[in-house]
Structure formats: structure tokens, C-alpha cells
């Protein structure tokens, strides 16, 4: 099987007066694992349905391999969907659910048997062939939905939050399986999720959506490390947002002053000049924390206000001397060997590298 490239050009979609999609543009390469990530109600499902042909855009175009498909109805489009609730046919067995599209194509009984068995092996559903959907677990239903969609040999597989209904552990497992499956079948996957961890762990590229608009497209690394705006910064992972004013500008770095923090340096990833008001993002795991004074340009002193032990790491909320509360994640590398374990109410020193903060908003001063 070979995937198609998918292109979305200036797609708008209205439900009555409500604009669900606003000038959406996307380019998805053939065979890639592409994620649409965004909060509930931002239009992910709507966009997916437009790609599937179950919904029509009010304007704009959808192209598969460079050819417009908007006039092709869903039953003729070479895309298949894993629905948010799987939408298995309740009256058919697992076998017949998977065989559904094959029977429509009037394949011979032998061919059908052979193909369905192959798919059942692929999604590891051996022995469940004769069960009805209602007799399956959530994870098994999801696998049936995948097998049923793949049976039709689509060039694009559309997955609408396929693991969100499952418990955390199973979710991780199935996500990995989906990733493997993607490598095996080689078709284009468009994966919708509101869970940033899912999106960044499996995708080649991620489009972050908000209020019907695409706000950033990039590799998982790019959207996590250099978020385009405040929304992306806070939606993907956790972060510290700091409002600051530029007091000095160098070639590479700037000096800023922030309420609750004081003066510090940061990397000049956007064009700014003296007097501008900016918004900075700084990931909690990028900050070093210690009970002993730390070296570095951006060093501050504070008190641990709260401590949340998570097993592999501890989250600290440190109130700096000037009042800002900084979120810090400290990984536990060596048990008891690191240094004195930091606890609630301890006085601490924190520091971060100026390269690790990013400017997400600039307001000209």
C-alpha cells in the first residue's frame, strides 16, 4: 500500500453563523504520520470529516496527490476513517465488520477470508472473529475499527482520537502499535487528538489548532521547543510564562526586567528593541534547582512553596524573592546520590540557560 499526499487549501467551514474552520492550510506528505492537535471544539473532527468527504467545505479545496477531491463523495474517496467512537456495525461479527468493504467490492469468498485473516493477524485479534462488537473490550474494538478501515486499502487513514476512550496504560500500548502499524502499511496517517503527549510522541509533523485556525505546524520538537505563541506554549506541555520589558539588546541576547523576578538574560529569537514588552516561555525541566548557590547568568533565590512527588521526577513551585512563582521539574537520576533532596519550605537557588527561554509575544514599546 502507498499513501497519498494531502493538501488543504484555504478551507472555511461554517455551521450557521459559527465558523468552525477559518482559512485552514495544510500540506501533508505522502506516508507521513501527521497529527492535528488542539483543545476540544477547535474543529479537528470537522477538518477530518472534510478530508473524509463526510462534510463539505464552504470554500477552499482538498487535494489528494495534487488532485482536488472535494467533488468526490466519501464512498469513492481513497481515505478511510477510524471514528471517535469506532462506529462498528453492531449487527455484524468482527469478521464481517472487517469484510464489509470487501463484500461491497464483490470479492470471492476465498479472497475475503484470506484478506480478513491477514488483517486480523496484523491487529492481533486472533480468536475474536465471531464475536459481536458488544462482546469486545474498548481496545479490541479499536483494533477492529483499524482493520476494517485498512481492509478498504485506503491511501489515507484518518484517525479521530482513536485511543482517547481507553485507560492510560492501554492508550500508551495502542499508540505504540499504531506507530508500528504505520511503519508496516506505509500509508498516510492523519491523527486527531487533544492530547499533546500523544501527538508529540508518534507524529512526524503536528499542526496545532485553536478556534478553527492552524496556529503552528512543525515537528514535535519544534512545537515543543519553540512554540509560536502563548497558546501553543501553554497547550503543549507545561511552561512558565513571564512578562518582561526589554532593557538592553545585544547581537544574540537581550537583557530583560520582569515583575516578580528581576533582571535576567535571554536568547533573542525574535526581533525586539529596547522598551518592548515581551512574553517569555521557559519549560520547567530546563531550570536547575539546588540548595547550594548555582553558577550562571540567570540565578535566583527562593523558597519551595509546594512539592509534588511524581516518581520519576518531582515538581517544585518555588517562590522567588521578588514574588514570581516558578514551576520546576527535577528528574530523579540517581537515588539519594544526586545531592540533598529538596523539600517543602527549603531555601533554594535556581538558574537557567538564557538559550532555554523563548519569546512568544512582542508588544512594541
Amino acid at each position: 500500500m502507498l499513501g497519498s499526499s494531502v493538501e488543504i487549501r484555504n478551507v472555511d467551514k461554517f455551521f450557521g453563523d459559527f465558523q468552525a474552520l477559518d482559512k485552514v492550510n495544510l500540506q501533508i506528505k505522502r506516508g507521513e504520520f501527521f497529527s492535528l492537535l488542539g483543545p476540544s471544539g477547535c474543529g479537528k473532527t470537522t477538518l477530518l470529516r472534510i478530508i473524509a468527504g463526510l462534510e463539505y467545505p464552504d470554500s477552499g479545496d482538498v487535494l489528494f496527490d495534487g488532485i482536488s477531491v472535494v467533488s468526490i463523495p466519501a464512498n469513492k474517496r481513497e481515505a478511510n476513517t477510524i471514528f471517535q467512537n469506532y462506529a462498528l456495525f453492531p449487527h455484524l461479527t468482527v469478521f464481517e465488520n472487517i469484510a464489509f468493504s470487501l463484500r461491497l467490492k464483490k470479492m470471492s469468498e476465498n479472497e475475503i477470508r484470506e484478506k480478513v485473516e491477514k488483517l486480523i493477524n496484523l491487529v492481533r485479534l486472533e480468536g475474536q472473529e465471531n464475536k459481536k462488537p458488544i462482546q469486545l473490550s474498548g481496545g479490541q474494538r479499536q483494533r477492529v475499527a483499524i482493520a476494517r478501515a485498512l481492509a478498504n486499502e485506503p491511501k489515507v487513514l484518518l484517525l479521530d482520537e482513536p485511543v482517547s476512550a481507553l485507560d492510560a496504560k492501554l492508550r500508551q500500548e495502542l499508540l505504540l502499535e499504531l506507530d508500528n502499524l504505520h511503519d508496516q502499511v506505509g500509508i498516510t496517517f492523519i491523527y486527531v487528538t487533544h492530547d499533546q503527549a500523544e501527538a508529540i510522541s508518534v507524529s512526524d509533523h503536528v499542526a496545532v489548532m485553536n478556534n478553527g485556525r492552524i496556529v503552528q505546524i512543525g515537528t514535535p520538537y519544534e512545537i515543543y521547543e519553540s512554540p509560536a505563541d502563548r497558546f501553543v506554549a501553554t497547550f503543549i506541555g507545561e511552561t512558565n510564562l513571564m512578562k518582561a520589558e526589554v532593557v538592553d539588546v545585544n547581537d544574540e541576547f537581550i537583557r530583560v526586567i520582569a515583575k516578580g523576578l528581576g533582571e535576567f538574560s535571554c536568547y533573542k529569537d525574535k526581533e525586539v528593541s529596547k522598551g518592548d514588552k515581551i512574553l517569555l516561555t521557559l519549560r520547567p525541566e530546563k531550570i536547575k534547582i539546588s540548595t547550594k548557590p548555582l553558577e550562571g547568568i540567570n540565578s535566583f533565590h527562593g523558597v519551595v512553596e509546594e512539592e509534588i512527588y511524581m516518581g520519576y521526577q518531582t515538581k517544585y513551585f518555588v517562590r522567588l524573592d521578588e514574588g514570581y512563582i516558578l514551576k520546576i521539574y527535577k528528574q530523579h537520576v540517581n537515588y539519594l546520590l544526586d545531592e540533598k533532596i529538596i523539600h517543602w519550605k527549603d531555601e533554594v537557588f535556581v538558574t537557567w540557560n538564557p538559550n532555554d527561554s523563548f519569546i512568544v509575544e512582542v508588544e512594541k514599546g
Binding site: 464512498n75 456495525f89 453492531p90 449487527h91
Partner: protein
């Protein structure tokens, strides 16, 4: 548990006991002025074995089956449309509005519409399409028309309930997997609303088999159904055992039909 007991009591008082009375009357002797003599007799049944009765019986069966079929054909798309509509509550209200009017009045309304001096004929005369009139009433098709009209809501409601309960996404999944809308209707919709379909058919077929007022008012002499015969035996002929015997046979036929129908549709659902 309490409800089940109450329901059982209800069934016994208003259904089982009357049925037993009718069944026993059918095996008794008639008296010339109605009522029965309490001595055993098969006269009630013997009078049924005439060609006239068999013809009426057969007519009752075919009129009922055709009416049910037509009713379902109309009810299915209507129920589907209502279930998918934004205004389903309003549309459901429209479906049940006829229940607010007495059914006899509604049958008379049809006479007013279809009669030889009815609205349609007057209109046809007005535009010069006919000279005097077209005979719409007093044939089996008029009976079928009014049965369909009367029982359509009974068929729509269980179908609506079944379709409304269905997850629309299975329909979309069918389209997504290559079905045309028509194929999706037969391959996905119908099998998943079988219970509603069975209920609808039963809700129409049973009362249609027992029709009395409709053939009486719009059927004329050549469209009499079993219900009319029961009434005639009970009133003008004053033959209660015969009336009871016809009723018993009608109940038996209906019951057998329903049992066979439900059994066979269950089997299909399981396969």
C-alpha cells in the same frame, strides 16, 4: 416486581378472562334473541365453513398484509427523516396530533374527501376532468387507504425510536467504506432497527386484522372484513356462538402469524 404483578393482574382481568369467555361461548348453543344456552355445540364453527366466510377471511388477511406493507413503506422514511431532523419534537407532535380526534370522525372525514360529492370529485368536476364523479370509496383499496392512514403513526413511532437510538456514525462508516446511501440503508440501517421494524409491523397488522369501523364505513358490501362479520353475527343475526367462533379463529390466526413472524425475524437477527 410490584409493577409486574399489577400488569399481570391487568392482563388477566382485561385480556385472559374475556378471551376465555369468548372461547367458551363459541362452543355453546345459540338462543334466538342473542345470548347463549349453556349446552355444548359446534354449530358456531360449522356456520363458518362456507365459501362466503372463507372469502371474507382471505380478504381480511390480504387487505391487512398489503396495508401493513404500505404503511411500513411510508413509515420508514418518515421515521428516518424525523429522527435526523432538528425539529424532531415538533414533527413527532404532528405525527400524534390525529390521535386527538376521534377515529370515527377521521374515517368520516375520508368520506367527505373521497365521496362521490367529496372534495376531490368536486375539484375534478370543476376543472372539467370528469363529467359526474369517480368512484373512490366502497372498494378494498379505500379500506387499505384508510387503514394506512389510521395506523401510520403506530408504525412511525417504534421505527423512530429505533432509528433515533442508532448511532449516526455507523451510517457514516458505511458510506466511508464504500456504500452508496441506498446500500447503507439496506445493509446497515435495516438490520440495526429490526426490533423496531418488528414492533411496527405487529402494531399495524394486528389492528388491521381486526378492522371493523373502516371497512364498515368506506368498504361497501364487497370489502367486508371479519370484524364486520363478527358484528353482524352479534347484532342482526343474534348468533353469539358464531360471533365468538369467528373471533376465536381471528385471534388464533393473528396469534399464529405474529408468533411465526417474530420467531423468524429473531432467527435472522441471530445469524
Amino acid at each position: 416486581m410490584k409493577y409486574i404483578t399489577a400488569y399481570t393482574l391487568w392482563l388477566v382481568v382485561f385480556f385472559v378472562i374475556p378471551l376465555i369467555i369468548i372461547l367458551s361461548f363459541s362452543f355453546l348453543e345459540k338462543t334466538p334473541y342473542g345470548g347463549v344456552n349453556f349446552s355444548f355445540s359446534l354449530e358456531g364453527y360449522k356456520s363458518l365453513l362456507t365459501i362466503g366466510y372463507l372469502r371474507i377471511l382471505w380478504r381480511t388477511v390480504w387487505i391487512s398484509i398489503i396495508s401493513t406493507f404500505i404503511t411500513i413503506i411510508f413509515a420508514l422514511p418518515t421515521a428516518y427523516y424525523i429522527a435526523k431532523s432538528k425539529f424532531k419534537n415538533f414533527l413527532l407532535l404532528l405525527v400524534v396530533i390525529p390521535f386527538w380526534t376521534n377515529s370515527l370522525i377521521r374515517i368520516y372525514a375520508w368520506i367527505f374527501v373521497l365521496g362521490n360529492n367529496g372534495i376531490i370529485n368536486q375539484f375534478l368536476k370543476l376543472i372539467g376532468l370528469v363529467d359526474s364523479h369517480i368512484q373512490f370509496l366502497y372498494n378494498p383499496w379505500a379500506v387499505i387507504l384508510v387503514i394506512v392512514y389510521t395506523y401510520l403513526p403506530y408504525a412511525i413511532i417504534p421505527l423512530y425510536a429505533a432509528i433515533e437510538r442508532l448511532d449516526n456514525s455507523i451510517f457514516e462508516a458505511a458510506l466511508d467504506l464504500g456504500c452508496s446511501k441506498r446500500k447503507a440503508f439496506f445493509k446497515v440501517l435495516i438490520p440495526n432497527i429490526k426490533a423496531g421494524l418488528v414492533a411496527s409491523i405487529i402494531f399495524v397488522l394486528i389492528p388491521a386484522m381486526g378492522s371493523y369501523a373502516i371497512p364498515d364505513l368506506v368498504g361497501g358490501v364487497n370489502s367486508k372484513m371479519i370484524g364486520n362479520e363478527i358484528a353482524r353475527q352479534l347484532t342482526t343475526a343474534k348468533n353469539w356462538p358464531a360471533a365468538s367462533a369467528i373471533s376465536s379463529i381471528l385471534t388464533l390466526i393473528t396469534l399464529l402469524g405474529v408468533i411465526i413472524f417474530v420467531k423468524s425475524s429473531k432467527k435472522e437477527v441471530l445469524n
